[in-house]
Amino acid sequence: MASQEQRNVSSHTEEEQLDDTPQPTPAPESGTGQGATSGVDDLLDEIDGVLESNAEEFVRGFVQKGGQ
Protein backbone atom coordinates (compact mmCIF):
# COMPACT_ATOMS: atom_id res chain seq x y z
CA MET A 1 0.00 0.00 0.00
CA ALA A 2 2.73 2.38 0.99
CA SER A 3 4.60 1.85 -2.24
CA GLN A 4 1.37 2.41 -4.18
CA GLU A 5 0.96 5.78 -2.49
CA GLN A 6 4.54 6.62 -3.32
CA ARG A 7 4.03 5.80 -6.98
CA ASN A 8 0.95 7.94 -7.19
CA VAL A 9 2.71 10.88 -5.67
CA SER A 10 5.71 10.66 -7.94
CA SER A 11 3.67 10.21 -11.11
CA HIS A 12 1.71 13.26 -10.03
CA THR A 13 4.68 15.48 -9.88
CA GLU A 14 5.84 14.36 -13.26
CA GLU A 15 2.44 14.98 -14.82
CA GLU A 16 2.21 18.43 -13.32
CA GLN A 17 5.42 19.28 -15.09
CA LEU A 18 4.39 17.70 -18.39
CA ASP A 19 1.07 19.49 -18.65
CA ASP A 20 1.58 22.11 -21.28
CA THR A 21 -1.83 23.68 -21.09
CA PRO A 22 -2.18 26.33 -18.42
CA GLN A 23 -3.79 25.01 -15.29
CA PRO A 24 -7.05 26.83 -14.83
CA THR A 25 -7.79 27.88 -11.32
CA PRO A 26 -10.65 25.80 -9.99
CA ALA A 27 -13.75 27.93 -9.82
CA PRO A 28 -14.31 29.20 -6.30
CA GLU A 29 -17.27 27.64 -4.56
CA SER A 30 -20.05 30.07 -3.92
CA GLY A 31 -19.93 31.00 -0.26
CA THR A 32 -16.45 29.76 0.56
CA GLY A 33 -16.97 29.93 4.29
CA GLN A 34 -15.71 27.27 6.64
CA GLY A 35 -19.00 25.41 6.46
CA ALA A 36 -19.09 25.26 2.68
CA THR A 37 -15.51 24.03 2.45
CA SER A 38 -16.01 21.26 4.93
CA GLY A 39 -19.20 20.32 3.07
CA VAL A 40 -17.12 19.80 -0.07
CA ASP A 41 -14.55 17.83 1.88
CA ASP A 42 -17.29 15.62 3.29
CA LEU A 43 -18.63 15.00 -0.20
CA LEU A 44 -15.20 14.13 -1.55
CA ASP A 45 -14.49 11.90 1.42
CA GLU A 46 -17.70 10.00 0.76
CA ILE A 47 -16.94 9.71 -2.94
CA ASP A 48 -13.42 8.52 -2.10
CA GLY A 49 -15.19 5.65 -0.40
CA VAL A 50 -16.97 4.48 -3.55
CA LEU A 51 -14.20 5.07 -6.09
CA GLU A 52 -12.73 1.91 -7.56
CA SER A 53 -9.35 1.11 -6.11
CA ASN A 54 -6.26 1.52 -8.23
CA ALA A 55 -7.57 4.16 -10.62
CA GLU A 56 -4.82 3.77 -13.18
CA GLU A 57 -5.31 0.04 -13.64
CA PHE A 58 -9.09 0.27 -13.64
CA VAL A 59 -9.16 2.95 -16.31
CA ARG A 60 -6.55 1.12 -18.39
CA GLY A 61 -8.65 -2.06 -18.25
CA PHE A 62 -11.78 -0.36 -19.55
CA VAL A 63 -11.48 -1.27 -23.22
CA GLN A 64 -14.45 -1.33 -25.59
CA LYS A 65 -15.06 -2.84 -28.97
CA GLY A 66 -16.47 -0.67 -31.75
CA GLY A 67 -19.85 0.97 -31.54
CA GLN A 68 -22.12 3.26 -33.46
Binding site: H12, D19, P26, D41, L51, V59, F62, Q64, G67, Q68
Partner: protein, 525 residues
Protein backbone atom coordinates in the same frame (compact mmCIF):
# COMPACT_ATOMS: atom_id res chain seq x y z
CA UNK B 1 -39.27 10.93 -30.69
CA UNK B 2 -37.17 8.28 -29.00
CA UNK B 3 -33.74 7.53 -27.58
CA UNK B 4 -31.20 4.77 -28.15
CA UNK B 5 -28.52 4.11 -25.55
CA UNK B 6 -25.51 1.85 -26.07
CA UNK B 7 -23.87 0.98 -22.78
CA UNK B 8 -20.16 0.51 -22.29
CA UNK B 9 -19.62 -3.00 -20.94
CA UNK B 10 -16.79 -4.14 -18.69
CA UNK B 11 -15.80 -7.06 -16.54
CA UNK B 12 -13.48 -5.46 -14.00
CA UNK B 13 -10.11 -7.04 -13.52
CA UNK B 14 -10.15 -8.80 -16.87
CA UNK B 15 -10.86 -8.04 -20.47
CA UNK B 16 -10.56 -11.59 -21.66
CA UNK B 17 -14.28 -12.00 -22.34
CA UNK B 18 -15.91 -11.67 -25.72
CA UNK B 19 -17.81 -8.36 -25.68
CA UNK B 20 -20.66 -9.55 -27.88
CA UNK B 21 -21.13 -12.63 -25.74
CA UNK B 22 -21.17 -10.47 -22.60
CA UNK B 23 -23.84 -8.30 -24.22
CA UNK B 24 -26.00 -11.36 -24.94
CA UNK B 25 -25.75 -12.21 -21.25
CA UNK B 26 -27.19 -8.79 -20.37
CA UNK B 27 -30.20 -9.35 -22.65
CA UNK B 28 -30.61 -12.89 -21.37
CA UNK B 29 -30.41 -11.77 -17.74
CA UNK B 30 -33.15 -9.22 -18.33
CA UNK B 31 -35.34 -11.79 -20.06
CA UNK B 32 -35.10 -13.91 -16.90
CA UNK B 33 -35.86 -10.86 -14.80
CA UNK B 34 -39.02 -9.73 -16.53
CA UNK B 35 -42.35 -11.51 -16.64
CA UNK B 36 -42.99 -10.34 -20.17
CA UNK B 37 -42.00 -13.53 -21.85
CA UNK B 38 -42.84 -14.39 -25.41
CA UNK B 39 -43.57 -17.58 -27.26
CA UNK B 40 -42.08 -20.77 -25.84
CA UNK B 41 -40.78 -18.85 -22.84
CA UNK B 42 -38.09 -17.16 -24.90
CA UNK B 43 -37.64 -13.69 -26.21
CA UNK B 44 -39.79 -11.93 -28.76
CA UNK B 45 -37.82 -11.83 -31.97
CA UNK B 46 -37.22 -8.64 -33.87
CA UNK B 47 -39.08 -8.32 -37.15
CA UNK B 48 -36.60 -7.04 -39.73
CA UNK B 49 -39.06 -6.87 -42.63
CA UNK B 50 -39.20 -3.10 -42.88
CA UNK B 51 -35.62 -2.26 -41.95
CA UNK B 52 -33.76 -0.36 -44.65
CA UNK B 53 -30.44 0.85 -43.28
CA UNK B 54 -28.85 1.60 -46.66
CA UNK B 55 -31.48 4.07 -47.84
CA UNK B 56 -29.94 7.54 -47.88
CA UNK B 57 -32.18 10.52 -47.16
CA UNK B 58 -30.49 12.42 -49.97
CA UNK B 59 -32.30 10.16 -52.41
CA UNK B 60 -30.32 7.02 -53.14
CA UNK B 61 -29.60 3.56 -51.77
CA UNK B 62 -26.08 2.36 -51.06
CA UNK B 63 -25.37 -1.00 -52.77
CA UNK B 64 -25.00 -3.74 -50.17
CA UNK B 65 -21.58 -4.72 -51.45
CA UNK B 66 -20.33 -1.17 -50.86
CA UNK B 67 -21.64 -0.95 -47.31
CA UNK B 68 -19.56 -1.35 -44.18
CA UNK B 69 -20.59 -4.60 -42.42
CA UNK B 70 -21.72 -2.60 -39.37
CA UNK B 71 -24.34 -0.85 -41.54
CA UNK B 72 -26.24 -4.05 -42.28
CA UNK B 73 -28.59 -3.82 -39.33
CA UNK B 74 -31.54 -5.34 -41.18
CA UNK B 75 -30.57 -8.97 -40.75
CA UNK B 76 -30.78 -11.09 -37.64
CA UNK B 77 -27.35 -10.90 -36.04
CA UNK B 78 -25.89 -14.27 -35.26
CA UNK B 79 -23.08 -14.89 -32.87
CA UNK B 80 -21.15 -17.30 -35.01
CA UNK B 81 -17.97 -19.16 -34.28
CA UNK B 82 -16.28 -16.97 -36.89
CA UNK B 83 -17.38 -13.82 -35.14
CA UNK B 84 -16.17 -15.04 -31.79
CA UNK B 85 -12.87 -16.04 -33.31
CA UNK B 86 -12.55 -12.64 -34.94
CA UNK B 87 -13.34 -10.77 -31.79
CA UNK B 88 -11.56 -13.13 -29.44
CA UNK B 89 -12.26 -13.70 -25.81
CA UNK B 90 -13.94 -16.24 -23.63
CA UNK B 91 -17.62 -17.12 -23.82
CA UNK B 92 -17.88 -19.55 -20.89
CA UNK B 93 -20.87 -21.86 -21.19
CA UNK B 94 -21.39 -22.50 -24.89
CA UNK B 95 -24.69 -24.28 -24.32
CA UNK B 96 -26.28 -21.19 -22.73
CA UNK B 97 -28.66 -19.23 -24.94
CA UNK B 98 -27.23 -16.34 -26.94
CA UNK B 99 -30.04 -13.87 -26.69
CA UNK B 100 -29.66 -10.98 -29.09
CA UNK B 101 -33.05 -9.27 -29.01
CA UNK B 102 -36.03 -8.58 -26.79
CA UNK B 103 -39.15 -6.49 -27.11
CA UNK B 104 -40.16 -5.23 -23.68
CA UNK B 105 -43.54 -4.72 -22.10
CA UNK B 106 -42.90 -0.96 -21.97
CA UNK B 107 -42.61 -0.91 -25.75
CA UNK B 108 -38.81 -0.65 -25.79
CA UNK B 109 -36.26 -2.88 -27.49
CA UNK B 110 -33.27 -4.37 -25.65
CA UNK B 111 -30.68 -5.96 -27.91
CA UNK B 112 -27.07 -6.57 -28.74
CA UNK B 113 -25.63 -3.94 -31.02
CA UNK B 114 -22.18 -5.00 -32.22
CA UNK B 115 -20.33 -5.35 -28.95
CA UNK B 116 -22.67 -3.43 -26.63
CA UNK B 117 -26.06 -3.93 -25.03
CA UNK B 118 -28.44 -1.30 -26.36
CA UNK B 119 -31.80 -0.06 -25.12
CA UNK B 120 -34.07 1.72 -27.58
CA UNK B 121 -36.83 3.59 -25.81
CA UNK B 122 -40.44 3.39 -26.96
CA UNK B 123 -41.79 6.24 -29.07
CA UNK B 124 -42.92 9.28 -27.06
CA UNK B 125 -44.48 12.62 -27.97
CA UNK B 126 -42.64 15.04 -25.67
CA UNK B 127 -39.21 15.64 -24.11
CA UNK B 128 -40.20 14.83 -20.54
CA UNK B 129 -41.40 11.39 -21.62
CA UNK B 130 -38.18 10.97 -23.63
CA UNK B 131 -36.22 11.53 -20.40
CA UNK B 132 -38.52 9.17 -18.51
CA UNK B 133 -38.35 6.19 -20.86
CA UNK B 134 -34.63 6.68 -21.51
CA UNK B 135 -33.99 6.66 -17.74
CA UNK B 136 -36.17 3.55 -17.53
CA UNK B 137 -33.58 1.91 -19.79
CA UNK B 138 -30.93 2.57 -17.15
CA UNK B 139 -33.08 0.64 -14.67
CA UNK B 140 -33.48 -2.19 -17.19
CA UNK B 141 -29.70 -2.31 -17.55
CA UNK B 142 -29.33 -2.17 -13.77
CA UNK B 143 -31.71 -5.10 -13.30
CA UNK B 144 -29.62 -7.13 -15.75
CA UNK B 145 -26.39 -6.21 -13.96
CA UNK B 146 -27.86 -7.22 -10.60
CA UNK B 147 -29.11 -10.52 -11.99
CA UNK B 148 -25.72 -11.32 -13.49
CA UNK B 149 -23.96 -10.40 -10.23
CA UNK B 150 -26.19 -12.91 -8.43
CA UNK B 151 -25.63 -15.69 -10.98
CA UNK B 152 -22.92 -18.18 -10.06
CA UNK B 153 -20.48 -18.85 -12.86
CA UNK B 154 -20.91 -15.53 -14.64
CA UNK B 155 -18.35 -12.74 -14.35
CA UNK B 156 -19.61 -9.50 -12.76
CA UNK B 157 -20.55 -7.10 -15.55
CA UNK B 158 -20.51 -3.33 -15.17
CA UNK B 159 -22.45 -1.11 -17.58
CA UNK B 160 -21.59 2.53 -18.21
CA UNK B 161 -23.84 5.17 -19.76
CA UNK B 162 -21.02 6.99 -21.51
CA UNK B 163 -19.70 7.23 -25.05
CA UNK B 164 -16.01 6.38 -25.16
CA UNK B 165 -13.37 4.17 -23.60
CA UNK B 166 -10.85 7.01 -24.12
CA UNK B 167 -8.74 4.58 -26.16
CA UNK B 168 -10.13 5.57 -29.57
CA UNK B 169 -13.45 3.69 -29.42
CA UNK B 170 -16.78 5.50 -29.25
CA UNK B 171 -20.29 4.10 -29.00
CA UNK B 172 -23.37 6.18 -29.40
CA UNK B 173 -26.53 7.40 -27.87
CA UNK B 174 -28.89 8.25 -30.68
CA UNK B 175 -32.07 10.26 -30.93
CA UNK B 176 -34.87 9.80 -33.43
CA UNK B 177 -37.41 12.38 -34.52
CA UNK B 178 -40.37 11.90 -36.83
CA UNK B 179 -40.46 14.48 -39.60
CA UNK B 180 -42.65 15.12 -42.65
CA UNK B 181 -41.33 13.46 -45.78
CA UNK B 182 -41.91 16.48 -48.02
CA UNK B 183 -39.35 18.62 -46.18
CA UNK B 184 -36.21 18.86 -48.36
CA UNK B 185 -33.33 17.17 -46.59
CA UNK B 186 -30.97 20.04 -47.40
CA UNK B 187 -33.11 22.31 -45.21
CA UNK B 188 -32.51 19.94 -42.31
CA UNK B 189 -28.76 20.03 -42.91
CA UNK B 190 -28.62 23.82 -43.16
CA UNK B 191 -30.86 24.51 -40.21
CA UNK B 192 -29.52 21.87 -37.88
CA UNK B 193 -25.74 21.89 -38.33
CA UNK B 194 -24.89 25.08 -36.35
CA UNK B 195 -27.30 23.99 -33.64
CA UNK B 196 -25.70 20.55 -33.36
CA UNK B 197 -22.19 22.04 -33.25
CA UNK B 198 -23.18 24.10 -30.21
CA UNK B 199 -25.96 22.32 -28.31
CA UNK B 200 -23.32 20.40 -26.32
CA UNK B 201 -23.22 23.51 -24.09
CA UNK B 202 -26.57 22.42 -22.67
CA UNK B 203 -26.37 18.64 -23.06
CA UNK B 204 -22.71 17.60 -23.26
CA UNK B 205 -21.80 14.93 -20.70
CA UNK B 206 -18.22 16.17 -20.15
CA UNK B 207 -15.02 14.25 -20.76
CA UNK B 208 -11.51 14.08 -19.36
CA UNK B 209 -9.07 13.79 -22.26
CA UNK B 210 -8.90 15.10 -25.80
CA UNK B 211 -8.69 13.48 -29.18
CA UNK B 212 -10.26 10.13 -30.08
CA UNK B 213 -7.78 8.21 -27.93
CA UNK B 214 -8.07 10.67 -25.06
CA UNK B 215 -4.33 11.25 -25.05
CA UNK B 216 -4.67 15.03 -25.22
CA UNK B 217 -4.62 16.78 -21.87
CA UNK B 218 -7.60 18.48 -20.34
CA UNK B 219 -11.36 18.53 -20.00
CA UNK B 220 -13.93 18.98 -22.74
CA UNK B 221 -17.65 19.60 -22.92
CA UNK B 222 -18.70 16.63 -25.06
CA UNK B 223 -17.99 12.90 -25.03
CA UNK B 224 -18.64 12.50 -28.75
CA UNK B 225 -17.34 15.66 -30.48
CA UNK B 226 -13.84 14.37 -31.21
CA UNK B 227 -15.26 11.34 -33.03
CA UNK B 228 -17.00 13.30 -35.79
CA UNK B 229 -15.23 13.65 -39.11
CA UNK B 230 -17.85 14.61 -41.70
CA UNK B 231 -20.72 17.05 -42.12
CA UNK B 232 -23.29 14.75 -43.76
CA UNK B 233 -23.30 11.00 -44.36
CA UNK B 234 -24.88 7.58 -43.89
CA UNK B 235 -22.32 5.89 -41.68
CA UNK B 236 -22.56 5.64 -37.90
CA UNK B 237 -19.38 3.77 -37.00
CA UNK B 238 -16.86 5.25 -39.42
CA UNK B 239 -16.45 8.80 -40.82
CA UNK B 240 -19.20 9.84 -38.41
CA UNK B 241 -21.25 12.76 -39.77
CA UNK B 242 -22.87 15.62 -37.84
CA UNK B 243 -26.04 14.98 -39.86
CA UNK B 244 -26.80 11.31 -40.44
CA UNK B 245 -28.78 10.45 -43.56
CA UNK B 246 -30.10 7.02 -42.67
CA UNK B 247 -33.58 6.97 -44.15
CA UNK B 248 -35.41 4.22 -42.32
CA UNK B 249 -38.72 5.80 -41.42
CA UNK B 250 -40.15 2.93 -39.33
CA UNK B 251 -43.47 4.41 -40.42
CA UNK B 252 -45.46 5.20 -43.57
CA UNK B 253 -42.53 6.21 -45.73
CA UNK B 254 -44.50 8.41 -48.10
CA UNK B 255 -45.54 10.61 -45.19
CA UNK B 256 -42.64 10.51 -42.77
CA UNK B 257 -38.93 10.43 -42.46
CA UNK B 258 -37.16 9.51 -39.25
CA UNK B 259 -34.33 11.87 -38.51
CA UNK B 260 -31.61 9.70 -36.98
CA UNK B 261 -29.37 11.82 -34.75
CA UNK B 262 -26.03 10.30 -33.82
CA UNK B 263 -24.22 13.31 -32.42
CA UNK B 264 -25.57 13.39 -28.87
CA UNK B 265 -23.89 12.37 -25.63
CA UNK B 266 -25.57 9.85 -23.36
CA UNK B 267 -27.08 11.85 -20.53
CA UNK B 268 -27.71 10.86 -16.95
CA UNK B 269 -28.59 14.42 -15.96
CA UNK B 270 -32.32 14.74 -16.47
CA UNK B 271 -32.13 18.45 -17.23
CA UNK B 272 -29.50 17.97 -19.94
CA UNK B 273 -31.43 15.07 -21.46
CA UNK B 274 -34.64 17.11 -21.36
CA UNK B 275 -33.01 20.05 -23.08
CA UNK B 276 -31.39 17.76 -25.65
CA UNK B 277 -34.77 16.44 -26.81
CA UNK B 278 -36.81 19.56 -26.17
CA UNK B 279 -34.61 22.09 -27.93
CA UNK B 280 -33.85 19.78 -30.86
CA UNK B 281 -37.56 19.14 -31.41
CA UNK B 282 -38.17 22.91 -31.39
CA UNK B 283 -35.38 23.53 -33.91
CA UNK B 284 -36.77 20.79 -36.17
CA UNK B 285 -40.19 22.40 -35.98
CA UNK B 286 -38.64 25.71 -37.01
CA UNK B 287 -36.85 24.05 -39.94
CA UNK B 288 -40.13 22.46 -40.99
CA UNK B 289 -41.79 25.87 -41.04
CA UNK B 290 -38.92 27.89 -42.45
CA UNK B 291 -38.27 29.96 -39.33
CA UNK B 292 -34.85 28.62 -38.26
CA UNK B 293 -32.18 31.30 -37.82
CA UNK B 294 -29.78 31.81 -40.70
CA UNK B 295 -26.41 30.98 -39.24
CA UNK B 296 -23.85 28.99 -41.24
CA UNK B 297 -20.54 27.83 -39.84
CA UNK B 298 -17.45 28.12 -42.04
CA UNK B 299 -16.18 24.73 -40.84
CA UNK B 300 -18.80 22.77 -38.86
CA UNK B 301 -16.62 19.79 -37.88
CA UNK B 302 -13.75 21.96 -36.66
CA UNK B 303 -16.20 24.21 -34.80
CA UNK B 304 -17.89 21.22 -33.14
CA UNK B 305 -14.55 20.17 -31.70
CA UNK B 306 -13.40 23.67 -30.84
CA UNK B 307 -16.63 24.28 -28.92
CA UNK B 308 -16.13 21.04 -27.02
CA UNK B 309 -12.56 21.94 -26.07
CA UNK B 310 -13.47 25.48 -25.01
CA UNK B 311 -15.10 24.70 -21.67
CA UNK B 312 -14.22 28.18 -20.44
CA UNK B 313 -16.60 29.45 -23.14
CA UNK B 314 -14.37 32.26 -24.40
CA UNK B 315 -13.74 31.42 -28.06
CA UNK B 316 -15.48 32.75 -31.13
CA UNK B 317 -16.14 30.67 -34.25
CA UNK B 318 -16.03 31.71 -37.89
CA UNK B 319 -19.28 31.86 -39.85
CA UNK B 320 -19.52 31.58 -43.64
CA UNK B 321 -20.35 35.28 -43.87
CA UNK B 322 -17.12 36.23 -42.10
CA UNK B 323 -18.64 37.05 -38.71
CA UNK B 324 -17.34 35.40 -35.57
CA UNK B 325 -19.71 34.29 -32.83
CA UNK B 326 -19.33 32.47 -29.53
CA UNK B 327 -21.08 29.10 -29.26
CA UNK B 328 -23.31 30.67 -26.65
CA UNK B 329 -24.29 33.44 -29.10
CA UNK B 330 -25.29 30.82 -31.67
CA UNK B 331 -27.46 29.10 -29.06
CA UNK B 332 -29.08 32.46 -28.29
CA UNK B 333 -29.86 32.92 -32.02
CA UNK B 334 -31.74 29.61 -31.92
CA UNK B 335 -33.48 30.36 -28.63
CA UNK B 336 -34.68 33.76 -29.82
CA UNK B 337 -35.95 32.33 -33.10
CA UNK B 338 -37.67 29.47 -31.24
CA UNK B 339 -39.31 31.86 -28.80
CA UNK B 340 -40.73 33.93 -31.66
CA UNK B 341 -41.76 30.80 -33.58
CA UNK B 342 -43.61 29.32 -30.61
CA UNK B 343 -45.31 32.60 -29.81
CA UNK B 344 -46.50 32.89 -33.41
CA UNK B 345 -47.95 29.38 -33.59
CA UNK B 346 -49.39 29.48 -30.07
CA UNK B 347 -47.55 26.38 -28.79
CA UNK B 348 -45.95 28.30 -25.90
CA UNK B 349 -49.14 30.04 -24.82
CA UNK B 350 -49.57 29.72 -21.03
CA UNK B 351 -53.12 28.35 -21.23
CA UNK B 352 -53.81 27.18 -24.77
CA UNK B 353 -50.25 25.97 -25.55
CA UNK B 354 -49.05 22.36 -25.40
CA UNK B 355 -47.45 22.83 -21.97
CA UNK B 356 -44.12 21.43 -23.08
CA UNK B 357 -42.93 24.18 -25.41
CA UNK B 358 -43.14 26.95 -22.80
CA UNK B 359 -41.30 24.80 -20.25
CA UNK B 360 -38.47 23.96 -22.66
CA UNK B 361 -38.07 27.60 -23.71
CA UNK B 362 -37.99 28.79 -20.10
CA UNK B 363 -35.38 26.21 -19.09
CA UNK B 364 -33.29 26.85 -22.20
CA UNK B 365 -33.26 30.60 -21.50
CA UNK B 366 -32.36 30.11 -17.86
CA UNK B 367 -29.46 27.83 -18.77
CA UNK B 368 -28.09 30.10 -21.52
CA UNK B 369 -28.33 33.10 -19.21
CA UNK B 370 -26.32 31.38 -16.48
CA UNK B 371 -23.80 30.01 -19.00
CA UNK B 372 -23.09 33.66 -19.81
CA UNK B 373 -22.77 34.83 -16.22
CA UNK B 374 -22.07 32.02 -13.74
CA UNK B 375 -21.70 28.59 -15.42
CA UNK B 376 -20.83 26.80 -12.16
CA UNK B 377 -24.29 27.72 -10.87
CA UNK B 378 -25.55 25.13 -13.37
CA UNK B 379 -23.74 22.25 -11.65
CA UNK B 380 -27.06 20.79 -10.51
CA UNK B 381 -28.50 20.76 -14.01
CA UNK B 382 -26.05 20.65 -16.90
CA UNK B 383 -24.15 17.37 -16.98
CA UNK B 384 -20.73 18.56 -18.17
CA UNK B 385 -20.72 21.30 -15.56
CA UNK B 386 -21.74 18.89 -12.81
CA UNK B 387 -18.87 16.60 -13.76
CA UNK B 388 -16.44 19.51 -14.12
CA UNK B 389 -17.33 20.84 -10.69
CA UNK B 390 -16.61 17.48 -9.08
CA UNK B 391 -13.32 17.17 -10.97
CA UNK B 392 -12.30 20.70 -9.98
CA UNK B 393 -13.06 19.98 -6.34
CA UNK B 394 -10.73 16.99 -6.48
CA UNK B 395 -8.10 19.03 -8.28
CA UNK B 396 -8.29 21.69 -5.62
CA UNK B 397 -8.19 19.29 -2.66
CA UNK B 398 -5.40 17.03 -3.93
CA UNK B 399 -3.54 19.39 -6.28
CA UNK B 400 -4.12 17.11 -9.25
CA UNK B 401 -3.05 17.77 -12.82
CA UNK B 402 -5.54 16.84 -15.56
CA UNK B 403 -3.57 13.66 -16.29
CA UNK B 404 -4.06 12.24 -12.81
CA UNK B 405 -5.59 8.77 -13.29
CA UNK B 406 -8.10 9.44 -10.52
CA UNK B 407 -9.71 12.15 -12.67
CA UNK B 408 -10.03 9.66 -15.54
CA UNK B 409 -11.62 7.23 -13.09
CA UNK B 410 -14.07 9.86 -11.89
CA UNK B 411 -15.02 10.54 -15.51
CA UNK B 412 -15.65 6.83 -16.14
CA UNK B 413 -17.30 6.03 -12.83
CA UNK B 414 -19.59 9.04 -13.22
CA UNK B 415 -21.59 6.88 -15.64
CA UNK B 416 -21.62 3.53 -13.78
CA UNK B 417 -25.34 2.70 -13.73
CA UNK B 418 -25.22 1.21 -10.21
CA UNK B 419 -26.40 3.89 -7.76
CA UNK B 420 -23.90 2.77 -5.11
CA UNK B 421 -21.03 3.23 -7.57
CA UNK B 422 -22.12 5.75 -10.17
CA UNK B 423 -20.96 9.23 -9.17
CA UNK B 424 -23.90 10.87 -10.93
CA UNK B 425 -26.18 8.81 -8.70
CA UNK B 426 -24.11 9.69 -5.66
CA UNK B 427 -24.78 13.36 -6.36
CA UNK B 428 -28.43 12.68 -7.19
CA UNK B 429 -28.93 10.96 -3.85
CA UNK B 430 -27.42 13.97 -2.08
CA UNK B 431 -29.84 16.32 -3.81
CA UNK B 432 -27.01 17.88 -5.84
CA UNK B 433 -28.60 16.97 -9.21
CA UNK B 434 -32.06 18.17 -10.09
CA UNK B 435 -34.84 15.65 -10.64
CA UNK B 436 -37.45 16.46 -13.27
CA UNK B 437 -39.25 13.21 -12.53
CA UNK B 438 -39.84 11.39 -9.28
CA UNK B 439 -38.03 8.05 -9.04
CA UNK B 440 -41.29 6.10 -9.05
CA UNK B 441 -42.31 7.66 -12.36
CA UNK B 442 -39.15 6.26 -13.92
CA UNK B 443 -39.64 2.89 -12.24
CA UNK B 444 -43.20 2.83 -13.62
CA UNK B 445 -41.84 3.41 -17.14
CA UNK B 446 -39.84 0.19 -16.87
CA UNK B 447 -43.15 -1.67 -16.73
CA UNK B 448 -45.55 0.45 -18.75
CA UNK B 449 -45.44 1.92 -22.25
CA UNK B 450 -46.27 5.53 -23.08
CA UNK B 451 -50.02 5.84 -23.62
CA UNK B 452 -50.10 8.24 -26.54
CA UNK B 453 -48.17 6.41 -29.26
CA UNK B 454 -48.15 3.00 -30.97
CA UNK B 455 -45.67 1.90 -28.29
CA UNK B 456 -48.75 1.37 -26.13
CA UNK B 457 -50.03 -1.24 -28.59
CA UNK B 458 -46.65 -3.00 -28.81
CA UNK B 459 -46.07 -3.03 -25.06
CA UNK B 460 -49.57 -4.20 -24.21
CA UNK B 461 -49.36 -6.99 -26.80
CA UNK B 462 -46.23 -8.24 -25.01
CA UNK B 463 -47.79 -7.79 -21.56
CA UNK B 464 -51.15 -9.41 -22.32
CA UNK B 465 -50.42 -11.92 -25.06
CA UNK B 466 -46.65 -12.40 -24.91
CA UNK B 467 -46.78 -16.18 -25.41
CA UNK B 468 -48.59 -15.60 -28.72
CA UNK B 469 -46.28 -12.85 -29.98
CA UNK B 470 -43.45 -14.32 -32.03
CA UNK B 471 -42.01 -11.11 -33.39
CA UNK B 472 -42.29 -7.35 -33.22
CA UNK B 473 -40.63 -4.21 -34.49
CA UNK B 474 -41.32 -0.49 -34.42
CA UNK B 475 -43.94 -0.91 -37.10
CA UNK B 476 -45.31 -4.42 -36.61
CA UNK B 477 -46.40 -7.06 -34.13
CA UNK B 478 -46.55 -10.68 -35.27
CA UNK B 479 -48.93 -13.15 -33.63
CA UNK B 480 -48.97 -16.91 -33.75
CA UNK B 481 -52.23 -18.48 -32.65
CA UNK B 482 -52.39 -22.17 -31.86
CA UNK B 483 -55.59 -22.48 -33.89
CA UNK B 484 -54.07 -21.02 -37.04
CA UNK B 485 -51.22 -22.21 -39.18
CA UNK B 486 -50.32 -18.81 -40.57
CA UNK B 487 -48.71 -16.03 -38.60
CA UNK B 488 -50.63 -12.78 -38.38
CA UNK B 489 -48.59 -9.61 -38.82
CA UNK B 490 -50.26 -6.46 -37.55
CA UNK B 491 -48.68 -3.40 -39.17
CA UNK B 492 -48.29 -0.36 -36.93
CA UNK B 493 -47.08 2.15 -39.48
CA UNK B 494 -48.78 5.16 -37.93
CA UNK B 495 -46.78 6.24 -34.87
CA UNK B 496 -49.69 8.11 -33.32
CA UNK B 497 -52.17 5.25 -33.58
CA UNK B 498 -52.36 2.21 -31.33
CA UNK B 499 -52.72 4.56 -28.37
CA UNK B 500 -54.47 3.80 -25.10
CA UNK B 501 -57.36 5.93 -26.21
CA UNK B 502 -57.82 3.85 -29.36
CA UNK B 503 -56.96 0.35 -28.13
CA UNK B 504 -57.03 0.38 -24.32
CA UNK B 505 -60.56 -1.01 -24.05
CA UNK B 506 -59.73 -3.73 -26.56
CA UNK B 507 -56.87 -4.97 -24.38
CA UNK B 508 -58.94 -4.80 -21.22
CA UNK B 509 -61.87 -6.67 -22.74
CA UNK B 510 -60.02 -9.42 -24.61
CA UNK B 511 -59.10 -12.37 -22.39
CA UNK B 512 -56.87 -14.00 -24.98
CA UNK B 513 -54.94 -13.26 -28.15
CA UNK B 514 -57.49 -14.89 -30.44
CA UNK B 515 -60.31 -12.72 -29.11
CA UNK B 516 -58.10 -9.67 -29.27
CA UNK B 517 -57.07 -10.28 -32.87
CA UNK B 518 -60.59 -11.08 -33.93
CA UNK B 519 -61.90 -7.82 -32.49
CA UNK B 520 -58.94 -5.82 -33.73
CA UNK B 521 -59.28 -6.99 -37.30
CA UNK B 522 -63.05 -6.58 -37.28
CA UNK B 523 -63.23 -3.20 -35.60
CA UNK B 524 -62.55 0.29 -36.91
CA UNK B 525 -59.22 0.84 -35.18
Amino acid sequence: MGAETEYGIHTPGTNTFNATWLSTQVVHAYSLETGHRAAAGGETRWDYTDEDPLADARGWVVPRENAHPSQLTDVEPELTAAQIALEGGETLDRSAPLMMNMVLGNGARLYVDHAHPEYSSPEVTNPLDAVRWDAAGDLVALAAVRRIAATPGLPAINLYKNNTDNKSVSYGSHENYLMPRELPFKNIVTGLTPFFATRQLICGAGRVGRGQDGSGTGFQVSQRADFFEAEVGLETTIRRPIINTRDEPHATSEKYRRLHVIIGDANLSQVSNYLKFGTTALVLDMIEHGTAPEVALADPVATLQAVSHDWELGQTHLLSDGRRLRALDIQWCYLEAATAHAAANGSSHPTSGDGHTAAVLARWEQVLTLLGSDPMALAGQVEWIAKLKLLQQYRARDSMGWRDPRLALIDLQWSDIRPEKGLYYQLLQRGAMERLLPDDAIAGAVEQPPEDTRAFFRGKCIQHYGPNVVGASWDSVIFELPSQRRLQRIPTKEPLRGTKELTGVLFESSPDAATFLGRLLAGPH
